[in-house]
């Protein structure tokens, strides 16, 4: 079929891109070839509008075993012959249209990225964003997305150990579903996503290929509109049982040494995996598409190339070792077919019943090769003027602090997320130590060693909205803080960059400054960015979502028994606040949810202050002088103290002595602060270490049996507050209460 610029535009390509393709090929592409370029050059696969800025991030470190973007996920050395593999990825657009399958396949996809490198996934996390919880649409999306994540992860058998969930109006049409997977691998057992060696056979393994998920990558590269529901066939359907078998088969095969390379099939299926592996190895491939096991009859060449059917892998096998591969897949009852072989010359040739259907240079399709790179213009968003206008004096100092606290504790962004996480199997694998001993980051055992991994995902997107540069530094800092406060040393970052339409200069400004902030903070904490994904077009006719650069971070505990927990241990222990107390209510849940202030500056933050705080907390944990440590985040000091008390039903008697407004003291979200509890016999040593560090600190009170006393007033029993905190989201889901 002859193609024209109109065909190209229908497929989502721009006229100048159509010209580029003609120049590369030296002729007009046929429809199959044009389809291949359209998905490979989509935002989702090519990063064409983001790569320029992504390259400015720190991407190398002493412990990184592969450079960012080189493989399917980041790989860091954790010593004793072990490595950790981790990555986060979005599945926002599919989840907006079909929440259950959209979220489920997001989980499946990210785990595949981990085991395609030879690692066994041991922990999953997710970051979810929804609109207002009282909205029927939000409840529908949350039900489906949580069910989908649980369905896939629970069956696949990897524990969902942590995550974060926010409810903000801007996510009403565009929910965000970011899934992260963390795996471990023994040195020498990793597999590269590369093709080499002329004549080596190429196999497709796993599920048969159908017409599902057709053009999903292109779909994820457009705004969501009313007609998006017509894109339903672009959403894939997941089969976790098939993926579980695929995992076990792959991990059984790898040690045999029969593989040259392996690449999972996610976005853009066969075309993407063949192009990326070939381009990486500087080779080409001859593929007979009719040999691909098919789920339905009469599939066309372009459909086979673009299909995003789940649970499939491309394997490049050493010639003569085919039998070993076939035997393993036979054992696991999985389809496994040779579909072609590696060629030299760098051309991808796709045949159908002997006829050449498409012939394109592999290099020309991929990021870093022929895919276009754009510089987008950006300008400061107009709403910044609104932010500058905010005057904290416009918020009256509350007369009844307790009444405010009671509301704060039930704000969905703050309240317990147990309605969500109890639907996930968080304990399978018997490695999650956080179930019975909670800490700010989740601590997972590396079996066969004494080590533990600390894992977390963090991003307060309202801070990023208020100031993309500082807000993103805060997101990185919070992730690092969570790991440090749990006794770990941060190793590296994977990021999921959720933004609106990059062609909107104000959205692109948010993107550019968030990346700058991220780079700055990652350098400070020595946590290189190992990879991740960019999700633009989280936008609907009403506007974009808050800029949401979700930070997934992994840290290491050399000795897992040295982990620090967040819960108070015994009545009588002193409670200290580390970090500066500021007269700051900016961008807090308190003013945003209770006073409906949409525009206010980012909370106080200073990178040096943050770094010093983390170093000090690390020292305190190493010196074994603190009994618990919990950082301050949404809801401020009051919520932190409550959360520290809940696990063991211990209360606190705390009072403010700082010269700041009481609402700022209790509910302000000024950054770089940690609340710790210290037993009487450790107080001298504790105070000495903190004084030496120069970090400001103050004693705020002590742990009680169960009574809560705030500024001298009795606020009741911690158990009653826990009940409110635990049941708030459940009650919203049952529509028993009105949203605040």
């Amino acid at each position: 079929m002859e193609t024209t610029v109109e065909t190209a535009e229908k497929l989502g390509l721009r006229p100048d891109e159509f010209e580029m393709i003609k120049q590369i090929l030296g002729r007009t592409p046929n429809f199959t070839e044009l389809s291949a370029y359209s998905v490979m050059w989509s935002e989702h696969c090519s990063y064409k509008n983001s790569i320029k800025w992504l390259k400015t991030l720190p991407r190398e470190g002493a412990k990184l075993l592969v450079k960012a973007g080189e493989e399917n996920a980041g790989l860091a050395d954790i010593g004793d012959g072990w490595g950790v593999v981790f990555k986060i990825e979005s599945h926002n657009h599919p989840s907006a249209i079909e929440p259950f399958q959209g979220a489920a396949t997001g989980v499946g996809g990210i785990h595949r990225d981990i085991f395609t490198m030879g690692a066994r996934p041991i922990a999953a996390l997710n970051s979810l964003r929804f609109g207002k919880l009282t909205e029927e649409k939000t409840q529908h999306l949350m039900n489906g997305i949580v069910h989908g994540i649980g369905h896939y992860g629970n069956c696949f058998g990897v524990p969902t150990v942590g995550g974060e969930i926010y409810f903000e109006d801007c996510y009403h049409t565009n929910p965000l579903v970011n899934a992260m997977s963390v795996g471990v691998v023994k040195a020498g057992q990793t597999v590269s996503a590369t093709a080499e060696g002329k004549g080596n056979p190429v196999f497709i393994v796993g599920s048969a290929t159908g017409k599902d998920g057709m053009g999903g990558a292109a779909f994820a590269s457009a705004d969501i509109t009313e007609s998006s529901v017509e894109d339903l066939p672009a959403v894939q359907v997941g089969d976790p049982f098939q993926e579980k078998k695929l995992l076990e088969a792959c991990l059984e095969l790898i040690p045999k040494g029969a593989l040259v390379g392996m690449q999972d099939m996610g976005a853009a299926g066969i075309i993407c995996s063949t192009a990326e592996t070939s381009a990486k190895g500087g080779v080409g491939m001859r593929i007979d598409l009719d040999k691909v096991p098919m789920r339905q009859a009469n599939m066309k060449a372009w459909e086979l190339l673009l299909s995003e059917s789940q649970e499939r892998m491309l394997m490049i096998v050493k010639k003569g070792r085919e039998k070993e591969v076939l035997e393993v897949f036979e054992k696991w009852d999985l389809p496994c077919s040779q579909i072609g072989e590696v060629t030299d010359g760098g051309m991808l040739q796709f045949y159908m019943h002997g006829a050449l259907e498409a012939e394109v240079p592999a290099e020309s399709l991929v990021l870093g090769g022929g895919a276009p790179v754009y510089e987008r213009e950006y300008r400061e968003p107009k709403y910044f003027a609104e932010i500058k206008k905010f005057d904290p004096a416009s918020i009256p100092v509350p007369e009844d602090l307790k009444a405010v606290a009671e509301k704060i504790i039930t704000i969905p962004n703050i309240a317990s997320k147990r309605w969500i996480y109890t639907q996930y199997d968080s304990m399978v694998g018997t490695g999650n130590t956080s179930t019975n001993a909670p800490s700010d980051a989740q601590i997972v055992k590396v079996k066969g060693t004494k080590k533990g991994l600390a894992v977390t995902v963090d991003c307060n997107s309202r801070y990023v909205f208020a100031d993309p540069f500082v807000g993103c530094m805060i997101a990185v800092s919070e992730a690092a803080r969570n790991i440090v406060v749990s006794g770990g040393v941060p190793l590296g970052v994977t990021n999921c960059l959720n933004f609106g339409n990059p062609y909107d200069p104000e959205v692109y400004y948010q993107f550019v400054y968030a990346i700058k902030g991220m780079g700055e903070a990652c350098k400070k904490f020595d946590t290189p960015v190992t990879g991740g994904n960019v999700s633009f077009y989280n936008q609907h006719p009403g506007g974009a979502v808050y800029p949401t650069p979700t930070i997934g971070m992994v840290g290491l505990l050399e000795d897992i028994d040295a982990k620090m927990t967040l819960d108070f241990k015994q009545a009588g222990d002193a409670i200290y606040l580390l970090g500066e107390v500021n007269d700051d209510i900016n961008s807090s849940e308190y003013i945003h949810k209770l006073h409906e202030v949409e525009y206010s500056p980012v909370p106080h933050f200073d990178l040096e202050e943050e770094y010093r705080l983390q170093q000090t907390v690390s020292k305190l944990i190493g010196s074994k002088v603190i009994a618990s440590a919990h950082d301050l985040s949404e809801g401020g000091l009051f919520v932190t103290l409550c959360e520290s008390g809940f696990n063991n039903d211990l209360g606190f008697d705390a009072a403010t002595s700082a010269k700041v407004r009481p609402d700022a003291f209790w509910f302000g979200e000024s950054q770089s602060r940690v609340a710790v509890s210290v037993s009487a016999d450790n107080i001298t040593a504790f105070e000495r270490i903190v004084k030496e560090s120069g970090v400001p600190f103050m004693k705020v009170g002590e742990v009680t049996d169960s009574e809560m006393i705030v500024d001298g007033a009795v606020w009741g029993d911690i158990g009653d507050w826990k009940e409110k905190y635990d049941t708030a989201i459940e009650k919203y889901m049952q529509r028993e209460e009105q949203y605040i």
Partner: protein, 225 residues
């Protein structure tokens, strides 16, 4: 006494069970593949364990396909000869589907998967904190069967609160009479929804699972003698 742990293609608690039995409890454990049939290395003093997971995907009823696997035919005859068999979670579902235990496990009352710590009371009165993780764990049988189970002492575990009170609030999934685990009439086949293998290690902050294994394989044996 040694253990055999059956691995179905969709089992995902097999490694946890093998770990707990061998490393935390010190038993000899042999891994068994679902396509095999040979149980020749086991005597009736030994125990075959069906671990948790999603045996064959469980897109039909949980365990409905697993009961037809080659290994299950051997397990059924092993149980018939008086050999010990334990099914945990999906393993319990398979034992019910295979007819080795009465009753069925239905979708949880709230229609959602549930994973959290619950409390369990044994027929010896001991209370243990053990995790559950299932979407279909609501034990159901007709009243005559339930009465018979109770009269024969076949109800071995019930959901309770921290203090051992068997209350509706302590029941996570709507199981009839708070039933969490049962045995067959002969006392050699056991099924339970909670996961004792997830509570056998100090670093997980819960070793109550050891009490369950002790109860099933040490205390109960002495009683029978």
């Amino acid at each position: 006494m040694k253990f055999g742990v059956v691995v179905f293609p969709g089992s995902n608690c097999d490694a946890d069970m093998i770990n707990a039995l061998s490393k935390d409890l010190g038993y000899e454990v042999i891994e068994l593949w679902h396509k095999d049939k040979d149980l020749g290395m086991f005597s009736t003093e030994d125990c075959i364990v069906l671990p948790g997971g999603f045996s064959y995907g469980d897109y039909l009823r949980c365990g409905a396909i697993a009961r037809f696997s080659p290994m299950m035919q051997s397990v059924i005859s092993f149980a018939g000869k008086g050999g010990k068999v334990l099914g945990v979670c999906n393993g319990f579902q398979i034992l019910c589907e295979a007819g080795l235990l009465p009753g069925v496990l239905l979708r949880n009352e709230n229609m959602k998967f549930i994973c959290r710590n619950i409390f369990l009371k044994g027929d010896d009165g001991i209370v243990s904190k053990i995790p559950v993780a299932h979407g279909e764990g609501r034990f159901y049988a007709d009243n005559a069967t339930l009465d018979e189970l109770e009269n024969n002492g076949q109800v071995i575990y019930r959901y309770c609160d921290e203090n051992g009170n068997i209350t509706p609030e302590a029941n996570p999934n709507g199981s009839l009479r708070n039933i969490a685990g049962i045995s067959n009439a002969a006392g050699n086949v056991f099924g339970m929804m909670p996961h004792p293998e997830r509570a056998c290690n100090e670093r997980l902050g819960n070793t109550d699972g050891k009490k369950i294994f002790h109860d099933l394989f040490v205390a109960r044996k002495t009683e029978l003698v």
